[in-house]
């Protein structure tokens, strides 16, 4: 589903965010990206949806080399990839329903599809009673569920999560983790960058560890360290 071949990315001459990284992620796999701050986890995720382009190496997503992809095709690539962030990136002036519907609306999905899919996905993340609330009327965990609903509403092949539990207390974070696990079980490939030692150790999924831009460990059913 995702394949990196000898990928090197630097932001300037001094900073090499990623060096010669290669790995494969199979369909429906779940991968943790771990490593200290600044080790290149977010960079790696941004390379996978063409928010960044590498200097060297190739990135393949769903069978296509996305570095050669013309800019005009990038939106269509991104429709197959859901994104989740530590700070949720919800729109404050829209309700829960509207935030999720927005993702479908702006890719031209018809109204009747939106009316059907948004409640279904909100139900899946456990927010069906809170559709009309605004983000500031929700807890952090609930806000993250909205952002997951938005990322998943178009049934993407891949979900990229950048420290989704970073702002949450352990119990709430665990709930979010279980939700991502459930989504993964539906066949969606999930790549999650995290600092959350407890969660990584609890889940026993594949772990890719980075240190200063270099992959130092790639372990099936791994632990945090």
């Amino acid at each position: 589903m995702i394949k990196l071949e000898n990928v090197t990315k630097s932001y300037s001459t001094e900073v090499t965010a990623l060096q010669d990284a290669s790995f494969d992620v199979a369909k429906a796999e779940f991968v943790f990206l771990v490593g200290p701050s600044g080790s290149g986890k977010s960079t790696l995720l941004r390379l996978m949806n063409r928010q960044e382009k590498p200097e060297k190496g190739e990135v393949w997503v769903a069978g296509r080399n996305i570095n050669d992809m013309p800019d005009a095709k990038v939106p269509h690539l991104r429709r197959n990839i859901g994104n989740i962030f530590q700070d949720y990136k919800l729109l404050a002036n829209k309700t829960v329903f509207e935030n999720v519907a927005f993702a479908l609306e702006v890719i031209g999905r018809p109204k009747h599809v939106i009316r059907q899919q948004v409640p279904a996905v909100l139900d899946l993340v456990g927010l069906s009673g809170k559709q009309e609330r605004f983000p500031h009327q929700l807890s952090g965990g609930e806000q993250q569920r909205v952002s997951i609903a938005r990322a998943f509403v178009n049934r993407p092949l891949i979900l990229l999560a950048d420290e989704p539990t970073g702002n949450l207390d352990p119990t709430t974070g665990e709930g979010i983790m279980r939700l991502l696990d459930r989504i993964n079980k539906t066949g969606t490939t999930v790549v999650m960058a995290t600092h959350d030692q407890r969660i990584v150790n609890m889940m026993r999924k594949r772990v890719i560890q980075l240190d200063r831009g270099i992959i130092v460990r790639d372990q099936a059913r791994g632990v945090y360290e």
Partner: protein
């Protein structure tokens, strides 16, 4: 398709309202610049009407009675052509009844009473004479002054008055100054619209970020902003057009109330020229809006 359209218009409208002060400034600037342009075009047209009799280097007009026979006309023509050293024979032009009536329409547009008196039965026809570039004015006057006695059916010979010379100089100055002002104002309108769109995009940068992440195309993101700029230009042009038509109507009715010998009789614009001006103001307004917003939307999409 419908959800796309409703999205586009909803976003555009919300943004117009949110940015009210900047939007108003952009619209006013567009309106003022287009209004001045419209007035410029009308004023120049007025000059041209006033000068039309003398356009193309004509410096002598020989008026001939309406009922002159072809033979008599030929005598006049022969006399004019017998002086090729002074008169540019190739540019000699005869305006028959129809052509003279058409010219009168422009010349007396501000003086309907005089215009009414002129008919196909009584309007003089005219020879328009362009002198050779190096011919002396005195020589031309000398030759011409003998025509009235010597030639059949000649009513009078006319030279351009000093007023005409002044007017044509004035026309040049007015054209230069007003076009320059228009150009500067149009440019500021583009800049203001550009800035409005930039502000609108900055205000919505989080939405734009999310849109890009979920796979909205650049065109989808851009179009509401471009439409917003287009509408600012269009609204400005509509105000300008209203102003231009009102000003023209007011001026025309003022001129028509002047005494017939005011000398301003031709200084009005009639027919469908004002509509033509309005059409171009609207086209230009939309163009200004599209340029301002289009460049902003492309430049600031990478927020």
């Amino acid at each position: 398709m419908f959800s796309r359209l409703s999205y586009t218009f909803r976003e555009m409208w919300a943004s117009l309202r949110r940015n009210f002060t900047l939007t108003a400034a952009a619209i006013i600037t567009a309106a003022v610049s287009l209004f001045i342009l419209g007035l410029t075009l009308l004023v120049l047209r007025g000059f041209d009407n006033q000068l039309s009799q003398w356009s193309g280097g004509v410096e002598l007009i020989v008026y001939v009675e309406n009922d002159a026979t072809p033979e008599q006309l030929q005598v006049v023509r022969d006399a004019l052509e017998s002086n090729p050293a002074v008169i540019d024979v190739d540019k000699l032009e005869y305006l028959d009844v129809d052509a003279s009536l058409a010219e009168a329409q422009r010349l007396f547009a501000g003086d309907p009473e005089t215009l009414q008196l002129l008919t196909a039965e009584n309007i003089p026809t005219q020879f328009k004479v362009v002198p050779q570039p190096d011919a002396s004015a005195e020589l031309l006057t000398e030759i011409a002054s003998s025509y009235k006695e010597r030639l059949p059916k000649v009513i009078s010979v006319a030279f351009p008055s000093k007023q005409i010379d002044v007017l044509s100089t004035l026309r040049g100055v007015v054209q230069f100054v007003l076009y320059l002002i228009t150009l500067i104002l149009l440019f500021s309108a583009v800049l203001l619209i550009w800035n409005t769109i930039r502000t609108a995009m900055f205000a919505r940068r989080r939405e734009i970020e999310v849109m890009k992440l979920v796979g909205a195309t650049n065109w989808f993101i851009r179009v509401p902003f471009m439409l917003e700029g287009l509408i600012q230009g269009l609204v400005g042009a509509v105000f300008a057009s209203g102003g231009v038509l009102t000003a023209n109507w007011y001026w025309t009715s003022t001129v028509q109330s002047f005494p017939p010998d005011s000398g301003f009789g031709a200084f009005v614009v009639t027919g469908n020229y004002p509509q033509w001006v309005v059409f171009w103001l609207i086209v230009l307004g939309m163009l200004v809006g599209a340029i301002g917003s289009g460049t902003a939307a492309s430049k600031f999409l990478d927020v």
